[in-house]
Symmetry: C2
Subunit: 159 residues, 2 copies
DNA sequence: ATTCGAAATGACAATGATTTGCATTCACTC
DNA sequence: GAGTGAATGCAAATCATTGTCATTTCGAAT
C-alpha cells in the first residue's frame, strides 16, 4: 500500500511544516495544526481585513475535501488574537474584521483604512500622519471621501 | 369618572403634541405616536450615542407603566434613520449606536467621538480639523490616547 | 516508530441579538 | 365619530456567537 497510504506525519506534517506560517505559529507557542496554518496563510496573503464569514467561505472553497468548521475558526481567531498573531477591528459597517499582524512592526505600528462605499473593498494605509494620509488616499484615486476619526483613551473620571 | 378617565386624545395627544419633537416627526412625514416621541426625545436630550439596549432600558425605567417593546424600538429607529432624523454608526466596540441628527446642521455636519477605554463613556467633539481635535481631546483630560481614522469613499474601480 | 497526555477539532446544543408574521390597537382623514 | 392604513406588541423564526463533549490529532517522551 505504498501508493495509497502515507503516514499522517508525512501527509500533513510536511505540508504544514513547509508553510512559512508554520514557524510563526510555533514561535507563538501554539500547536501546529492544518486549520491554523490555513487561517494564518489566508490572512497573510489577503492584505485586507477579512470577516469570519469570508474566512470560512474562502477556506471551504479553496479545498473541496477540507471543510472548516465555524466554531473552529472562531476559536482559532481568538487564539491568534491572544497570541498577537492577528488583530481585529470594527469598521463603519459594523463587521468585526481580522487582520494579520506583521511581526516586524509589532509594537506601535498602526495604520488606517479606506473602504469603498460601493463595493466594500478595504485597503490599508501605512502612513499615520493624518494630513499625509488624506493626500495619499486621494492619490489612490478615491472620490467622495469622507472620514471618521475615533479616539480611545482613559477619561478624566477613570484616570 | 372624571379623575380616572381622560380621553385618549387628551391623554396622549396632548403630551405628544406639546413635545418639541412632535413637530419634527410630523415634518418628516411620519405618524405621531407615543413611542416615537419618547425615542426621539431621549436621543435628543442624550447628547451622546446610544445603543438599542440603552434606549430600551431607559425608556422602560423612565415610566413604570409604559413598557416599550424591543421590536418597536428596532423599527422606530429604522424608520427614523430612513427619514433622516437619526444616524447610526459603529464605534470600536462594535456596537451599533444611534444619534439624533440635528436638523440645523443637516448636510455636511460631522463630528468625532472620544470613548473611554474603561467606562465606555462616549463624548462627541464638534471640531472637525484633526489637529485641533487632538488638542481638544487632551484638554478634556483624556489620557493614553490612541486614535482611529477611517476614510470612506468611492474607489477608482467604482468611479 | 509507538505510545501517551493534553490540546484542538467538529458536530451539535444553547444562548443572545435581530428580524419577520400576524392580530390588535391607534393615529389621522373625512 | 367612523373608517383605513399604519404602528404596535407578542410570538415565532432567523442569524451570529458561544458552550459542551466525544473524538481526533499534535508533539514530547519513550
Amino acid at each position: 500500500m505504498p501508493i495509497k497510504k502515507k503516514s499522517k506525519s508525512e501527509a500533513k506534517g510536511n505540508s504544514n511544516a513547509h508553510s512559512p506560517c508554520a514557524e510563526e505559529i510555533r514561535a507563538a507557542g501554539l500547536k501546529l495544526t492544518p486549520v491554523r496554518v490555513k487561517v494564518l496563510e489566508l490572512l497573510k496573503q489577503e492584505h485586507c481585513l477579512l470577516t469570519i464569514d469570508e474566512i470560512v467561505k474562502r477556506l471551504s472553497l479553496s479545498e473541496g475535501k477540507t471543510k472548516v468548521d465555524w466554531t473552529t475558526v472562531y476559536r482559532t481567531l481568538l487564539t491568534f488574537t491572544d497570541a498577537g498573531l492577528v488583530t481585529h477591528t470594527t469598521l463603519v459597517d459594523g463587521a468585526l474584521r481580522y487582520e494579520y499582524q506583521h511581526a516586524s512592526h509589532e509594537d506601535h505600528h498602526h495604520h488606517h483604512h479606506v473602504s469603498c462605499k460601493k463595493c466594500g473593498m478595504i485597503e490599508s494605509i501605512d502612513a499615520c500622519e493624518i494630513e499625509k494620509i488624506q493626500k495619499q488616499v486621494e492619490k489612490m484615486g478615491f472620490r467622495e471621501l469622507s472620514h471618521r476619526l475615533e479616539f480611545t483613551g482613559v477619561c478624566p473620571k477613570c484616570s
